[in-house]
Symmetry: C2
Subunit: 134 residues, 2 copies
DNA sequence: TCAATAATAATAATAATTACTATAATTGAT
DNA sequence: ATCAATTATAGTAATTATTATTATTATTGA
């Protein structure tokens, strides 16, 4: 972990994640970073995204449909995936609440609870206004 | 949805899921069902697991490491994945609490919240007791 | 400037899942 | 029970998502 060298590609990926609210997949990150680094490899994107996630500079979000998504905003918060369009939105909940859930769960579990992720399913505002589109 | 025919393979998969606490992957289900149906195909297992999930007879659990897992116990409950051994355990929380979280989230979201899944990360009892060996 | 070492691009390989198709099983009506 | 309609299956191929390999390049600290 200490033997980590700077790389412009990783810096660009981190920068991109910190400015988007889109929760992009590795492939989407790849397509964007490619504008600045036309020769960047998809493998490099995967490796750096996982590095950032391991270092706590990004969150990896697993959903049942499609590949993993990444979020550069690491303050404790939740996500909502739209059942209609698949979009992933942020959902800020009281941080106190999030900590409470960990404690509550720890009391019900025979081991130790460290953290948790919550993924809500729902219908986003955009899809809701387009009425019953499933 | 109405045009669904019975199949012994699907019945066996449902039966198996209802009797295990292991949260098996599709491949694990495949290996077990194969004992009764030696010619069953992995594709059949995938299709039926997804069918069961769509019908509400099973829960599909996505974790960041490895393939999706399935749970035949569909009462509202959470899961814990062990950071050490990867095992997925059930975590029963007050059902009132789980409903409350949906309402709480709905108030903070511009669309509609339908449900949620929570995945805790921690160390299971077994790994905790082996901690001095690592 | 230079050597040590980590990061990269390009590619190959693997893992997880879905799609395709000819045959078999289920169902509902005769 | 038989039969036609239709869904499900097994076997296989294809696709998608991700990780591994390797020769070259970039970064770092002396």
């Amino acid at each position: 972990m200490a033997n980590l060298k700077y790389s412009r590609q990783r810096a660009a990926i981190k920068e991109y994640l910190s400015h988007t609210l889109e929760h992009p997949t590795a492939d989407t990150v790849y397509l964007h970073i490619k504008e600045e680094f036309p020769n960047i490899s998809l493998g490099t994107v995967y490796r750096n995204l996982n590095l950032l996630a391991d270092m706590g500079d990004a969150i990896k979000i697993s959903t049942p449909d499609g590949g993993d998504r990444f979020d550069g905003h690491v303050n404790p918060h939740y996500h909502v995936v739209c059942r209609s369009c698949g979009k992933v939105s942020d959902l800020e909940l009281d941080e106190q609440h999030i900590q409470e859930v960990n404690k509550l769960a720890d009391r019900c579990f025979e081991g130790t609870i460290l953290s948790h992720t919550t993924l809500f399913y729902g219908i986003c505002r955009e899809c809701e206004s387009k009425k019953w589109k499933n």
